[in-house]
Amino acid sequence: MTPARLTERREEGGTVLSLGGRLDAYSIAAVWAEARQALVRNATQPITVDAGEVDYCDGAGVALLLDLLRQPRPAGAAVSVRNLAEPYRHLLEPFDPAAFAASARQEAARPSTVERVGRMAADLGRDLWEQVAFVGEGAAAIGAALRHPRRVRWKDALAVAQEAGANALPIVALIAFLMGVILAFQSAVAMRQFGAEIFVANLVGLSLLRELGPLMTAILLAGRSAAAFAAEIGTMKVNEEIDALVTMGLDPVRFLVVTRVLAGLVVAPLLTVFANVIGLVGGGLVMRSFDIPWVTYYRQLTTAADWEDLTGGLIKACVFGVLVAGIGCLRGLQTRTGAAAVGVSTTRAVVSAIVLIVITDGVFAVMFYYLDF
């Protein structure tokens, strides 16, 4: 097969562009630019495209002819095609060059700034409304679940708790250990200058039990489980499984959300206790290397932190667990259609969960301060 070629010659009554060879998507690129330039050069005279020597012409070749035919030309300088072999003419026939004259870019005009701002505001408002509605729906469903505990699908809840809780132990341990070690080491280096290494126990104990334990656990839960909930429920939404639940008379909130929120409520404080223990052990290890024995470290811990610090942190962890599980489910239920939408939901779930955790933590800090907790 010969590659596509183009020759230009003058004839009586205008210019003739003679196309030949194989017109397919791979070999046509060179000819395309040439042909367009020939049209520009002969802007004021009629042009005939002679396709007599074309060996093969497929969709790309047809597109080239169409491109030449669709160019706006002054009167008396029209472009025409001749000698196109019979089978290829059938390919060109269905297309009206005039219909392709406008660029596809104009098919959908970009919305104006005002419209875009309006849409964004409407989206924001709808999102807020959906959150309020979801909180109400979720609270009602959990209330109903507490009144009729036998109706809750405990098996599902247990499976979720295992995935979100037990399977998260290694990563929680890793991060908690790191936090304990870093906190202890960095403060011990500074405090040694004053001979006050022993007070590192106060710092590690209080900050882990009250703040870092619950916070780190919640953030890990957001990254692992809120994302998982959003992706799973989002895929169910895309596959119309949520619609199937609705038409079977099963409330998706009760069916999917209650189990997950209950699992989050149970799992978050348990993981937090685990994180606290591992973090404190990490701190103790560092203290050992500063020649402070385990017993001394333990004594100092118990005088610095009491049960109130621990329970305060655990209450926070419970709230975080509910929030993280809830927001994961909400973002999942809000998923639109398509694979990309699931990705968007997952991202939004993690971001919203972390923002919520930070805000709630701030609220708790203020509350505990005024309650003198």
């Binding site: 790309a60 491109d67 390919l91 392709f100 660029s103």
Partner: protein, 254 residues
């Protein structure tokens, strides 16, 4: 007709299946250049599996699959890429990329495999979209379209490089009768005018009668081909009652 003919696809002794057993055993057939070849059979008989083997997605348990004389099973690297460009595939659910507009979906192969200027790419893609009746939808996202429209867009994407073979997996399922008939017309005109070979998996009897030059019928218990030929002939003269029922659309219990 000469059975050797000008075969563009040649399957010899193909056995295929999953871990839990073989779905197809020792299947051999040929697809001639330029014909519309339909694979049919009851649910679960391995039609889609066979198709996925033909396009090189699954490695067969045994046997060879030659596309235009080259083995797609053993082809590697550049050779395999060249082989893949000889055919286009339309998947059952369309499999359009949800994060791209229709036009971007259709121009993607042109962008990667040709050096056409952007304007030319766009025009080629728009003619393909126009061919499947989706003019003016180029800027839409796949999610904004109905299932049938997504399917047609997927056909446009499969044929944007004008491959020699088009594999269509259930092209007319989920389309209204008019669109479905138009699609049949499109398949026929592409086959007759461009010499494109079609391998179609479908259940739609009207569409089979309209387009098929030759069909093969697969069966689950036989693990292979139980009938081969023109659909009208199989309907009226097949010695297998099940095959006649299939083409006459009768329930087995009746």
């Amino acid at each position: 007709m000469d059975p050797q003919g000008d075969a563009i696809i040649r399957v010899e002794g193909l056995s295929a299946g999953f871990d839990d057993g073989l779905l197809l055993q020792d299947v051999s057939f040929q697809v001639r250049r330029g014909e519309v070849f339909v694979i049919l059979g009851g649910s679960g008989c391995g039609k889609s599996t066979l198709l996925k083997h033909l396009i090189g997605l699954y490695p067969p348990a045994a046997g060879t699959i030659l596309i235009d004389g080259e083995d797609i099973v053993t082809a590697q690297g550049v050779q395999r890429l060249a082989l893949l460009r000889k055919f286009g595939v339309m998947y059952q659910s369309g499999a359009l990329f949800g994060s791209m507009t229709l036009l971007e979906n259709v121009t993607l192969p042109l962008e990667s495999y040709t050096d056409l200027p952007p304007e030319a790419r766009e025009l080629v893609a728009r003619t393909k979209l126009a061919l499947v009746g989706l003019e003016g939808f180029g800027r839409h996202m796949p999610a904004e379209l109905s299932g049938g429209m997504q399917k047609r867009a997927a056909i446009a994407r499969a044929m944007v490089l004008d491959p020699a073979i088009l594999f269509l997996d259930e092209p007319s399922a989920g389309l209204d009768p008019i669109t479905s008939a138009e699609l049949d017309q499109l398949i026929l005109s592409l086959a007759r005018n461009l010499g494109i070979t079609f391998v179609v998996v479908t259940h739609e009897l009207p569409s089979i009668y309209a387009i098929a030059d030759r069909v093969i019928m697969l069966d689950k218990t036989a693990r292979g081909i139980i009938a081969e030929g023109r659909p009208e002939m199989l309907r009226d003269h097949s010695d297998n009652p099940w095959v006649r029922r299939f083409f006459n659309r009768e329930a087995v219990s009746s």
